[in-house]
């Protein structure tokens, strides 16, 4: 903030100068604040513009200045219903389903770990834990949340898949490769537990004690109070934490790509390698894709699908949060 300010001088000119400074500062600050909105607008423009290049062979601005014209290169029906994703291979295939499937199956599998465990942890912290146990467990969860995702990727490749998933696979007589869907479930599930537990715990703590005491007075046990009073009363907050964890799992990149792999396929076998949308984007970074090439444009088409998915989740989360705040104020 290097803006000059005047000394204590009481002449009218100085006051005018001060006012002008104030107005300019206000404009400058507004400009900074609007950068955040511009970022969102830029996100939409860039994603749509390049995705248009993918589907129609020409960027929107190129058409606007009359340099190019739209010609369909990838049809929407192929994109959304095709079952083979290989835009870079020799006979290109543009079906996005396998990598959308990869993202969904990882997200759902991780949710089966993070949602129940996160909720149970929150219930333990808010209803059962003694203060000293609480003070020990909470920092551990914070560490879990603060560890970079690349470290979870390392954990998947060096421990979870070769030791844990392989052992489970051996039970079924399946040999597990370097990457596996189940490895993705475990690391993404683990890393999203703290989100669920911390936000759900806040929601449970906001439940008034009167409700609990009323139930106890009717002869309810602690188990009944936890499940029938606290959980329903904190439901919207808990749901918000679920949405947040799911949205995070959808956008998760490094851990997923190192755990689940780079092979786009429609499979439900948890011991097989699959590819998520984010892993596809990372796999392109490993090659050098020229600007304007199909793989470069596909990056943005996939990014757009990803962005729309997480945006939907976040908007839903906003809605739940507003409801949650209304209940307890």
């Amino acid at each position: 903030m290097s803006t000059e300010t005047q000394g204590p001088d009481l002449s009218g000119d100085e006051l005018q100068g001060d006012r002008a400074t104030d107005r300019n500062i206000k404009r400058l600050l507004f400009g900074c604040a609007s950068i955040t909105v511009l970022t969102t607008i830029a996100l939409f423009l860039v994603l749509f513009d390049n995705a248009a290049g993918y589907f129609y062979g020409a960027r929107i601005w190129e058409v606007l200045i009359g340099q190019e014209s739209f010609r369909q290169t990838v049809s929407f029906s192929e994109f959304f219903t095709g079952t083979r994703w290989a835009p870079v291979r020799a006979p290109p295939a543009h079906g996005v389903l396998p990598i959308v499937w990869g993202t969904i199956v990882i997200t759902v599998g991780a949710a089966f770990i993070s949602l129940p465990i996160g909720t149970a942890t929150a219930l333990y912290l808010s209803e059962y834990a003694k203060p000293q146990n609480r003070n020990r467990l909470k920092p551990i969860l914070e560490v879990l949340a603060g560890i970079p995702t690349i470290v979870y990727g390392f954990f998947a490749i060096s421990f979870v898949t070769p030791i844990f998933v392989s052992a489970v696979g051996a039970l079924f007589g399946i040999s597990v490769g370097r990457y596996s869907m189940m490895g993705g479930w475990i690391v993404v599930g683990t890393m999203t537990i703290p989100m669920v537990s911390s936000i759900s715990e806040d929601a449970m703590k906001a439940v008034p004690d009167d409700l609990r005491n009323g139930a106890y007075a009717l002869g309810a046990t602690k188990y009944e109070v936890s499940l029938r009073i606290v959980l329903p009363a904190a439901l919207s907050g808990i749901l918000a934490s679920y949405i947040l964890a799911i949205s995070r799992a959808i956008g998760e990149t490094m851990a997923v790509s190192l755990a689940a792999g780079y092979q786009p396929q429609l499979t439900a076998n948890p011991f097989e390698e699959i590819m998520t949308m984010t892993a596809y984007m990372v796999s392109l970074a490993r090659g050098t894709s020229a600007v304007g090439s199909v793989e470069y444009q596909s990056l943005f088409a996939v990014g757009l699908v990803l962005f729309v998915m997480t945006l939907t989740a976040n908007l839903f989360n906003d809605y739940l949060k507003r409801r949650f705040q209304e209940v307890y104020r």
Partner: protein, 309 residues
């Protein structure tokens, strides 16, 4: 939540209700909750054990020395590979990012708290912040790839990486700054205005100094998030192995997490050991940043509470 359950004495004395199934259910439920809560702890123990085990293997079996590891630049041969250029690149990234996020974060927060009228534009800016915080980090990566790396023709340079990281973490700084600027008591603003200070003078001499500790804490936490980010840098075009030390914002770059990713990705066991050592360095850096944030919070919490009365 802390309400003590009254014993079942009265129930038992009036009628002979068998509560053993209830007790069993309660105990089972408590056991389940305990088991679930310990899951995270167990995973964390495994995670750290795994990292140190791999790093120890690297030292013992592959002869990777800490000194060489910290001093050498990236290399294709595991024995010579080092972390130095990645560390320097991360330092450059953080140095640029902190400038962007401090400026943008404080300005936006000041506008929203001190100046913004309560109208639709303001609500749009606020609602948009929550949305931005939820955008996946890869998406910020391709945004900067299209706008800065290729659009502005800057190429895959440190500055572009810093832009991507700033876009990713600036919402954290804005939210932290808003909270700590709002926490400055209105009495102090009024007092300053009563002495004839203009709004900007009040902000610069009264509001900002008061809210600075909170802003700094938020900024450090944002940097801690940024320093561990890999995906946006990969999208922007960070090098997997940088054999030269970057010397400025317009040099090509790797970074600590990108280098760790590359080592983890390579199939040889030696590289996994290198990745483990890189992770230890990264985690130590994160730990130091957290410690500084906690220190600032502790130190100034008292001061603010004193002056806030």
């Amino acid at each position: 939540m802390s309400t003590e359950r009254k014993g079942d004495v009265t129930g038992r004395s009036i009628t002979d209700v068998d509560l053993s199934s209830e007790k069993f259910k309660n105990r089972l439920f408590y056991g389940l909750l305990l088991a679930a809560s310990s899951f995270g702890v167990v995973m964390l123990v495994f995670l750290f054990a795994d990292i140190f085990y791999e790093a120890a293997i690297g030292q013992r079996e592959f002869g990777i020395e800490l000194g060489r590891f910290l001093g050498n630049t990236g290399s294709q041969t595991p024995a010579n590979a080092g972390f130095y250029s990645a560390i320097i690149a991360s330092v450059w990234l953080m140095a640029l990012t902190v400038v962007f996020i401090l400026f943008l974060g404080i300005s936006t927060a000041l506008y929203l708290v001190e100046y913004a009228p309560d109208n639709r534009t303001t609500r749009l800016i606020e609602a948009n912040l929550a949305n931005l915080a939820g955008v996946p980090s890869v998406v910020y990566g391709i945004l900067i790839l299209a706008l800065v790396v290729n659009g502005a023709g800057l190429g895959s340079v440190i500055l572009a990486g810093a832009f991507a990281l700033s876009a990713l973490v600036v919402p954290i700084v804005i939210v932290a700054s808003i909270e700590s600027i709002r926490a400055v008591p209105d009495g102090m603003r009024d007092g300053s205005a009563a002495t004839g200070a203009t709004k900007w003078q009040t902000i610069r001499r009264v509001v900002l100094p008061q809210s600075l500790p909170g802003i700094m804490t938020g900024t450090i936490l944002a940097l801690a998030r940024a320093v561990g980010e890999t995906a946006p840098l990969l999208m922007v075009g960070a090098l997997f192995t940088d054999t030269s030390v970057p010397g400025g914002p317009f040099d090509s770059f790797s970074s600590m997490p990108v280098q760790i990713y590359n080592w983890t990705f390579l199939p040889q066991r030696e590289f996994l050991a290198l990745a483990a050592m890189g992770i230890i360095v990264l985690l130590v850096v994160l730990l130091l940043m957290q410690a500084v944030a906690v220190y600032i919070r502790r130190k100034y919490e008292r001061d603010v509470s004193l002056t806030g009365v």
